[in-house]
Symmetry: C2
Subunit: 208 residues, 2 copies
DNA sequence: TCGATACGCAACAGACTCGTTTCGCAATGC
DNA sequence: GCATTGCGAAACGAGTCTGTTGCGTATCGA
């Protein structure tokens, strides 16, 4: 973070302290603009300042470049996805995918996508941040669901977990992003994906 | 296309004809720049003209706006994917995914991705063109492979084909785009994906 | 040869963005 | 009170991009 911490015992620097309100307004404006489909490259400091009702000076005083600002803005986005506690792998995965589907309808998530889709070669730090903040936490959830399923014997022991994760998340993303881009996501999509996927993941002996 | 056709019997307009060489250079420059990670919004006529060794006038004379140019440029990209004629569904799908993996390492394919990833809301015509030129042809190949598999009894008759397509293509894209963004795509990824997917698609009675 | 059109090149005005600086005012500690 | 720092606003020079125009040259049909 670029904010200067006034930790315990630190001598507060003289003069007027920086406005936390301005800080928040700047970050909110940044996320808003990204959420509206503005790419990182087209995102202008001027536009952020105008949207935040803030002077450009106030932004440059805190962040030396645009990327730093966006990195800090992303860090404020918390992934509030709890580990689904479904009774079965099927139930947990469906719950998870439904949360993802719900999320993708909200602005703040779209803005993460816009960041992620920006050329990783040109914004390597943003791409890395995207992995930390958005991608890996969600991957870990799927991994945990699958691991538990293997433990309980519900899933094959020789399951290729990485590929299984890619199938679950990839199928969801493919369908929502490419095949039905505009339309409201079909409600039963999560069930359909998990259904077809599990018929392969599930141990033969168990049932079906 | 914006080129004026000199069809049979059409009176060729007087004066010097437009240079096909310039036309090609412009489109090539456009695709090159897009392939280098330049987004559609940041793509400038100036840069295209400079790269193509052409005056801006020559571009403006043919296309009235940037989107028209990009649409025409995309139309020149042929998807040279033949229908894999593998002996089995597994073999055909693996072949298909290997072609996709190979393609994704080339510039011209990356540029299509960059167009596709540009905000569809802000470039609806480009998004639609992307579907026509790149997405749907590839989807049809997978659909054909799966349909044949169902016909021959290799796949379940009640297979949810749309979801199966999403699983195959989505898993591939997810893994290459998000999980291993920079690294050279793992060679056996297609086999691994098809392996896990088919264990669900394949009819129980058949074998395994 | 002549008119018409296209070519590459250069220049233009207008708009936008950048990152910096200056201004007058506000808030804090000493 | 006074120094120090932050604030919003405005302006700056430099740069880029746009879409248009003028120039001299090249290439076509008549």
């Amino acid at each position: 973070m670029s904010m200067q911490q006034t930790a315990e015992g630190m001598t507060r620097p003289a003069g007027r302290p920086r406005s936390e309100k301005a800080e928040k307004a700047i970050i909110d404006a940044t996320l808003d603009l990204l959420g509206e489909g503005i790419g990182v490259s087209e995102l202008s400091i001027e536009a952020i300042a105008a949207r935040a009702g803030v002077g450009k000076t106030t932004i440059y005083r805190r962040w030396s470049n645009k990327e730093d600002l966006v990195v800090d803005a992303m860090a404020t986005l918390k992934p509030p996805i709890p580990l689904p506690q479904g009774a079965s792998v099927r139930e947990s995965l469906v719950t998870y995918l439904k949360v993802i589907a719900e999320e993708s309808r909200h602005q703040r998530t779209r803005c993460i996508m816009n960041i992620a889709l920006s050329d990783p070669d040109r914004h390597p730090r943003l791409a890395e941040r995207f992995r930390e903040v958005a991608l890996e936490p969600r991957r870990e959830i799927v991994r945990a669901i699958l691991a538990k399923g293997i433990e309980t014997g519900e899933l094959r022991g020789d399951l290729d977990v990485d590929i299984a994760m890619a199938i679950i998340s990839g199928a969801m993303m493919w369908q929502t992003k490419w095949v039905w881009p505009g339309e409201a996501t079909e409600a039963r999509l999560p069930e359909r994906i998990v259904e077809e996927a599990l018929k392969g993941f599930r141990q033969r002996a168990a049932e079906n």
